[in-house]
């Protein structure tokens, strides 16, 4: 990177002039809340925080930060769990907290244009009057921002039916590292040329800053039915999920909570009435037309009963349904009652390997004397082994990290990947080479360089630094044989 052409003092003055005094935080005590995201074990205080109000201010801020050669880390609500919003040393955080407007709702063509800092659940609230909703529903949706969802290609329980964020983005307005505004807002149903929007979703703040999003809306379903199935055995619950998928049923969500999670939820403010004697509960939901829901649920009940469910409870009304889901979505928060810290792993495997992976995860934690609570998006093969620990205990922390690494290796060995929805961030940098070859990672680095040649945006995240340096500096070399390729 070339030398900065702006001193810190001048930078702050210029930023205050461009964003207003409320748009810049430079006092050390006020920077503390920005030191980490949901991965609290990794912390770094930023040099300053900028809070633009709109695309123009974001562009102005980035132009100045670019001149100052300062690393820039985008931050929505900071609910990420992989260190994606952890500041870089000497860097600035660019927060979208002041960009929360709904700019346009087109009810006829079913899309909404919003600013990136709008909270996920607020979009569906606004669209409800048109009989529409926004489908991706991460567990943190009461707090996380839509811009953050785009950065991580966030999922949620209902992405089993509706797909993850990348299937719901029709356009974006982006600001690149040098302040250039790129208007890809369309909206379009299909890209012309390369799918830049599709590529951007999930890029974890390393390509640019999305300031405006054009998002697909769906008609609210005519009917919904939610069933809680109670099992004496976690393995039986997992097996029933495999059967539901093998039967080609299309519920909108399939989630599992294990005994420790149930216990924590029921002792918390998220208490949902889950039976505490259960070893596992399965939460299944079907949405659609009345006939579709009736058919899906009839067949689902048959399978669940055949697989040993000791009880099936249907939510009688919207209130009960909401309560059942609040328990599931509050599970991570509820775990705060069990231990001071929680390592939320994010593993993903083919659905056919779910049971094997659950057993292996239990084994890994038991071997290390760790308490494990598991919640999963069973329909997608996406597990969250939540390992309880106390970060003040260095040895326990070491064992937790070791377990996390072994779980990821086991996932990759089972044909899975490193992350189903939390992203790579800082947390999984070292493991990227479990899954990708040097050439694979080199290609990703080169694509990143096309977006951000000076690597100012979220440096040190998602791709191992060493690989990127080699990709940039190495001459074009004799290629590996195809037989060497994975």
């Amino acid at each position: 990177m070339t030398a900065p052409s702006l001193s810190r003092a001048t930078l702050i003055d210029e930023l205050r002039r461009a964003l207003g005094p409320e748009g810049v935080i430079a006092e050390p005590t006020r920077l503390v809340p920005y030191e980490s995201d949901g991965l609290a074990m990794l912390q770094q205080r930023p040099e300053l925080v900028v809070l633009p109000r709109d695309t123009a201010q974001c562009s102005a801020a980035l132009r100045l930060l670019h001149r100052a050669r300062m690393p820039i880390i985008a931050r929505g609500a900071g609910t990420g769990l992989a260190g994606g919003a952890t500041p870089a040393r000497g860097g600035a955080v660019l927060s979208t907290a002041r960009m929360r407007d709904v700019l346009q709702v087109d009810a006829q063509d079913r899309w909404a244009r919003v600013q990136a800092g709008l909270v996920n659940v607020d979009l569906s609230r606004v669209c409800h009057e048109h009989g529409l909703f926004y489908a991706p529903d991460p567990s943190s949706q009461q707090a996380c921002t839509l811009g953050g969802n785009v950065a991580n290609n966030s999922g949620g329980p209902h992405c089993f039916k509706y797909g993850c964020t990348n299937q719901h983005v029709l356009g974006l307005v982006l600001v690149l590292a040098d302040g250039e505004v790129l208007d890809l807002s369309g909206p379009t149903l299909d890209p012309v040329g390369l799918d830049l929007v599709g590529l951007f979703v999930g890029s974890e703040g390393t390509f640019g800053i999305a300031t405006e999003l054009v998002l697909r809306l769906l008609p609210e379903p005519q009917a919904v039915e939610t069933v809680l199935a109670v099992f004496r055995d976690l393995d039986a619950a997992c097996h029933s999920v495999s059967e539901l998928i093998a039967a080609r049923l299309e519920p909108s969500a399939i989630e599992i909570l294990d005994k420790l999670t149930i216990d924590a939820v029921e002792r918390s403010v998220y208490a949902a009435g889950y039976p505490r004697e259960a070893e596992a509960v399965l939460l299944v939901e079907a949405e659609g037309s009345e006939v579709e829901v009736a058919v899906a649920m009839r067949r689902t009940r048959e399978i669940l009963n055949a697989r040993g469910a000791i009880e099936l409870r249907s939510a009688r009304d919207a209130h009960e349904r909401k309560k059942l889901w609040a328990g599931r979505k509050g599970a991570f928060g509820a775990m705060g009652r069990v231990a001071p810290d929680l390592y939320v792993a994010d593993a993903v495997v083919p659905r056919t390997k779910l049971r094997e992976m659950v057993r292996r995860t239990v084994e890994i934690c038991r071997e290390r004397g760790l308490r494990l609570a598991t919640v999963f998006h069973a329909g997608d093969g996406n597990l969250h082994p939540n390992i309880c620990y106390d970060r003040r205990d260095a040895d326990e922390t070491r064992r937790v990290l070791e377990a996390g690494d072994l779980i990821l290796k086991a996932c990759v060995d089972a044909g899975g990947a490193l992350t189903g929805e939390h992203g790579v961030g800082l947390e999984k940098l070292a493991q990227m080479e479990y899954l990708f070859s040097q050439q694979d990672l080199g290609a990703m680095c080169r694509v990143r360089d096309a977006w951000d040649p000076e690597r100012q945006l979220n440096p040190g995240k998602l791709l191992p630094m060493r690989v990127c340096m080699e990709a940039r500096s190495a001459p074009i070399e004799a290629p590996a044989r195809a037989a060497d390729a994975r």
């Binding site: 012309v192 096309a450 977006w451």
Partner: protein
């Protein structure tokens, strides 16, 4: 390097059965057909691309070549590299609903294989036996079932591709949910061979319908309006239509074609809903088909797109409100010029295509006529602030008219960034350029 010299170089790596010539591509200033290599293994494909990189040759990637006419001719190509001999299903997981197939496998072969396992393959493309799965993904070609299944790029879980240095690169995997690393497979889908040679794709599958139904409403007149109105009534219902098409063949009346597929009980309920809605819209009584007959009719409607012949096809797409106005305008303009095109409108997707029959059917579409149409419609494609853009694309346009027509639409926003990405991934320019919008 001359074509004979290229052929000699290729012959050093491949057997005679793996060599050929691509006659259908006419490049400005190039005499004769283009040498074509069709390697049987991924290793051979790597060697060919290494050779191209070392010798400074330019390669045109393709599958079966069914969509060559969708693109502008490349600025340069020394040989074509086809994946047609890279065939086979590498992995099909019926219990997981996913599949990986080599790029040269036909769409029909993949569809047949997964149907045996209780799955449907999307995209449900026209003439699936004449389309490779890799070429289909590279073209970003969504299917006749797009209303239900979504665009093809949403179904691509991962790819393996060979870059301009002959290296095999992986993106994604055979997992329905995965956010590990950049989704380069999203770049590959729809890149038209501008970045790499796709050799393997991994896809999410859909459940095979228990029951297929088809409804066909024939309207007395040639106007599309009544069919579009009836289609709108259906699209407002809480039903998961597989496809809703309004079509009109030259010299015939308009038709509304609806395909339903799913669990038997649900499909029948949706049929009843459709019948009530059509009666309320005062549409003529529909012909209703079930099972094999519905399947056959769906395939006929689907395959008509390719089977109509080599008349140029004008495709318009956009968001519904603006696109439907554009569709009516284009249709009126073509009719006013004496054209009687085969027109197909997917109102739920706001896309339409016209197979623009030449004024004199025996003669090809003239460059002059194409130029007039391009001028007339250029304003439609221009984006106005606050309005969703319309995209106009031409397929299989006559060679001498292609320079007049922006075949894949006007240069898109972000074109410069696209070019930077292309230069990063293919710095030596091994893959033929100039075929895609923005000069990619």
């Amino acid at each position: 390097m001359s074509a004979p010299a290229v052929e000699t170089r290729l012959a050093g790596l491949l057997d005679a059965s793996e060599l050929g010539a691509l006659a259908q591509l006419e490049l400005p200033g190039v005499q004769g057909p283009l040498p074509l290599a069709a390697p049987s293994t991924i290793e051979q494909a790597c060697e060919l691309l290494e050779l191209a990189a070392q010798d400074g040759l330019c390669v045109l990637p393709l599958g079966y070549g069914s969509k060559l006419g969708w693109y502008a001719p490349p600025t340069r190509a020394d040989f074509a590299l086809s994946t047609r001999a890279l065939r086979g299903i590498r992995s099909y997981e019926p219990e997981d609903g996913t599949l990986s197939a080599l790029a040269g496998t036909s769409v029909a072969e993949v569809a047949e294989r997964v149907a045996a396992g209780g799955h449907a393959l999307s995209p449900d493309v026209s003439c699936p036996g004449a389309a490779s799965i890799g070429g289909t993904i590279a073209a970003g070609c969504s299917g006749f079932d797009r209303l239900l299944a979504g665009p093809v790029r949403n179904l691509v879980l991962g790819t393996r591709a060979i870059d301009g240095e002959g290296r095999v690169l992986k993106s994604g995997g055979q997992l329905v949910k995965n956010v590990t690393g950049y989704d380069l497979h999203r770049l590959h889908a729809g890149s038209g061979g501008a970045l790499c040679l796709l050799v393997e794709v991994s896809l999410r599958l859909l459940p095979l319908p228990e029951l297929e139904l088809a409804l066909c409403v024939r309207f007395p007149g040639a106007e599309l309006g009544p069919g579009l109105a009836a289609a709108r009534a259906l699209l407002a219902l809480p039903a998961r239509w597989r496809s809703v098409l309004v079509r009109r063949a030259p010299g015939a009346g308009a038709e509304l074609c609806v395909c339903i597929g799913g669990k038997a009980e649900v499909a029948r309920a949706e049929r009843e809903l459709a019948l009530v809605a059509l009666a309320a819209a005062r549409a003529p009584e529909p012909e209703v088909l079930e099972g094999e007959a519905a399947h056959a009719r769906r395939c006929a409607w689907r395959d008509e797109e390719q089977a109509s012949g080599r008349w140029p096809e004008l495709v318009l797409s956009g968001m519904p409100q603006r696109a439907l106005l554009g569709i009516e305008r284009v249709h009126a303009a073509l009719r006013a010029r004496g054209c009687d095109p085969l027109v197909r409108v997917h109102p739920g997707l706001a896309s339409a295509s016209w197979h623009v029959a030449p004024l004199e059917r025996a003669a090809p579409l003239s460059a002059a006529f194409a130029r007039e149409l391009a001028q007339e419609f250029s304003e439609l494609g221009r984006r106005r602030p606050g309005e969703a853009p319309l995209v106009l694309q031409w397929r299989d346009a006559p060679i001498d008219a292609r320079g007049e027509l922006e075949l894949q639409g006007a240069a898109p926003p972000g074109a410069e960034l696209m070019r930077r990405i292309q230069r990063q991934l293919d710095p030596r320019g091994v893959f033929a350029r100039g075929r895609m919008p923005g000069g990619l």
